[in-house]
């Protein structure tokens, strides 16, 4: 079964995304901080990472960089969840190594389609 890692510190958001993913049949692992996320990515060999940019401690960009630098598979799709507060957020995500980005607040109707694009 496809394993998805969700890195999000906000409890409600985490619950929301995990609920939708599990409802669609995916296996979901959760991490609350960037550091935890990097460890989990290495340990669990996930098929996709869904990650909030705004995290306590190291932010999403740094988390992505570390995952890419780790022995974890370079082809892991890392999708950034960002509210595009500042211009250049898009470029920063891609520059840090993100495969793609999804805008927040997430749209429960379209989120699965957006994610499944990366699970080819």
């Amino acid at each position: 079964m496809t394993k998805i890692l969700v890195i999000e510190d906000n409890e409600k958001n985490r619950y929301l995304i995990s609920f939708i993913l599990r409802d669609s049949g995916y296996d979901v692992i959760e991490a609350i901080t960037g550091e935890e996320g990097v460890e989990t990515a290495i340990r669990e060999h996930v098929d996709l990472v869904l990650m909030d940019i705004q995290l306590p401690g190291i932010d999403g960009y740094e988390t992505t960089r570390r995952i890419r630098a780790s022995p974890a598979d370079d082809t892991i799709p890392i999708i950034a969840l960002t509210s595009f507060a500042m211009t250049g957020d898009r470029e920063r995500a891609l520059a840090a190594g993100c495969t793609g980005y999804i805008e927040k607040p997430i749209n429960p109707d379209t989120i699965m389609d957006d994610i499944q694009k990366y699970l080819r």
């Binding site: 929301l16 705004q54 509210s83």
Partner: protein, 519 residues
């Protein structure tokens, strides 16, 4: 910069150059002195007088920009002390200009000139940074008058009243008065030097050095003049040379102040002002940074709760958390609509804050306008159909645009959404046309139209067209924001409308984004 340097050549070269020239001149004069003292004397005095008059000319002509009472007094007094020295030269023993061929007259004139010079100098030092009249308005005239009066008094005393003390007695030499006077004059000068030293900070350092040097040489000259016996004596020559050197240093000081640094005083004010300006500039930059940080964090904070609201109502409505009854679905539907409305409000407000703060930056990418049109059709097609309207989107073949895709999409969606809102029957059309670098998008409808009075206010913020009986959700920001965004992208938005007939909104933008100077 040292005392001899003008700064145009390397310092050491200037020093050597000036030193060499000085030595050559002094040596020549010495040679002349050996052969013909009278010639020597005349040359030295003429040199001094010419420089003295030059000082006056410079100071008098720049008296408005020299905001220094000190230099005004020195400069103006040189006209008169120079004149006394001129007469002194003409009266010198052997010149045969004045009757009597006595050595007393030139000596009296010399002493008179030195008293004049030293006293005016002392007064000048006492008036450093002070003005005589308010704002120095009549200072120059007053100084001129007082100097002239003193000059007249002295000359009258020497020539007319003949009551100026005796300075030289043929055969005996200098009178006690004369010798004492030299010491008194030196005392005045030393006092002046002390005051100058105390007020050192008010002067440009180079100027201050020149002034001190001038004084010192004057004093040297005066002391030399206490020792000679005959007017053609060696010490006499030394004294004259010292005076020449002193006048030269005064000249340098005045030249620096008047011609190269006339606004020395003003410069220090300017410096203060420019530092204050820099400080407020830095403060403004910091405020700007804080503003954009505030907007960015507000943007994030305001959107965060909406994650839950939009997300969970979406899940509930889809029945993902369990089957819902009709009433539950209906109510959740209303929540969903409201939360979407709230989100677009937040986005609009954040956008407007960014624009107003001048913080907005274009997110430029290359995209196909046809894709945007397709997306608009997919988004609004169902809504139009529900209301019984026909949405016709003329999707172009392929138009490559290098601009802010998101914002262009925003404007189109704003216009189409408005069209649907305000049309009860008929059709809504979306078309595009490109002419060179300009792309024109048009949204037309067969709706209720807009009245003339409302047309004027249409693009103003927070202005909503109130149609009686028709409740529309909106902020009144949509069109205002659209206009600002379109202008930001190098174009503009216009509207044509007739009540009950329909409306046509046309907006244009550059196919390839160019940064606009002013919003």
């Amino acid at each position: 910069m040292g005392i001899f340097q003008t700064g145009r050549y390397p310092a050491s070269i200037e020093l050597i150059l000036y030193g060499a020239i000085a030595c050559i001149i002094l040596f020549c004069l010495y040679v002349v002195n050996l052969n013909n003292f009278l010639l020597f004397h005349s040359l030295v005095e003429i040199a001094s007088i010419v420089v003295a008059f030059s000082i006056f000319v410079i100071v008098w002509n720049t008296r408005r920009t020299i905001t220094s009472t000190f230099f005004l007094i020195i400069g103006i007094s040189f006209l008169f002390s120079g004149t006394i020295d001129l007469v002194h030269m003409l009266a010198y023993k052997g010149m045969s200009v004045f009757p009597g061929n006595s050595a007393d007259l030139p000596t009296q004139l010399w002493i008179a000139a030195r008293y004049y010079q030293s006293i005016t100098f002392l007064i000048a030092t006492l008036l450093i940074r002070r003005s005589i009249t308010k704002d120095r308005k009549y200072d120059d005239s007053i100084i001129l008058v007082v100097c002239a009066a003193a000059f007249c008094l002295v000359m009258t005393s020497i020539f007319l009243w003949q009551n100026f003390p005796c300075c030289y007695i043929e055969g005996t030499g200098l009178t006690p008065f004369k010798i004492a006077s030299e010491y008194v004059i030196s005392a005045f000068l030393i006092l002046a030097i002390i005051i100058l030293a105390l007020r050192r900070s008010t002067f440009n350092p180079v100027v201050w050095q020149y002034l001190i040097a001038a004084q010192v040489f004057l004093i040297v000259g005066e002391l030399a003049f206490t020792t000679y016996v005959g007017v053609y004596d060696f010490m006499n020559m030394i004294g004259h040379l010292a005076k020449l050197v002193s006048v030269y240093f005064f000249y340098r000081a005045i030249v620096v102040v008047a011609l190269t640094h006339p606004l020395d005083l003003l410069f220090s004010e300017l410096k203060e002002k420019s530092m204050a300006l820099e400080q407020s500039n830095n403060q403004l930059k910091m405020l700007d940074r804080l503003k954009s940080m505030f907007i960015a964090s507000m943007s994030h904070e305001l959107r965060t709760p909406l994650n839950s609201i939009i997300g969970f109502t979406g899940i509930l409505i889809k029945g993902m958390a369990g089957e819902l009854n009709a009433e539950q679905k209906k109510q959740l539907g209303m929540v969903q609509e409201s939360s979407r409305h709230l989100l677009s409000l937040i986005n609009d407000v954040i956008d407007i804050s960014k624009i107003e703060a001048g913080n907005i930056e274009a997110d430029i990418s290359q995209f196909n306008l046809a894709d945007v049109f397709r997306e608009v059709e997919n988004t609004f097609g169902p809504t139009a159909q529900e209301r019984g309207l026909v949405l016709t989107v003329e999707i172009p073949e392929s138009i490559t645009i290098t601009s802010d895709e998101r914002r262009i999409k925003q404007v189109i969606m704003n216009l189409v959404s408005n069209a649907i809102k305000f049309t009860d029957e008929g059709r809504i059309g979306l078309t595009v046309r490109q002419e060179g670098m300009v792309v024109e998008v048009r949204v037309s409808d067969t709706g209720i139209g807009i009245g003339k009075e409302d047309l004027e206010q249409l693009f103003r913020p927070f202005v909503r067209v109130q149609v009686p009986g028709r409740f529309t959700e909106g902020t009144g920001l949509g069109l205002y924001l659209s206009k600002k965004l379109v202008q930001f992208l190098g174009g503009d938005i216009t509207v044509e409308s007739e009540l009950q007939k329909g409306s046509m909104f046309t907006f244009s933008f550059l196919a390839t984004y160019e940064k606009q100077e002013d919003l």
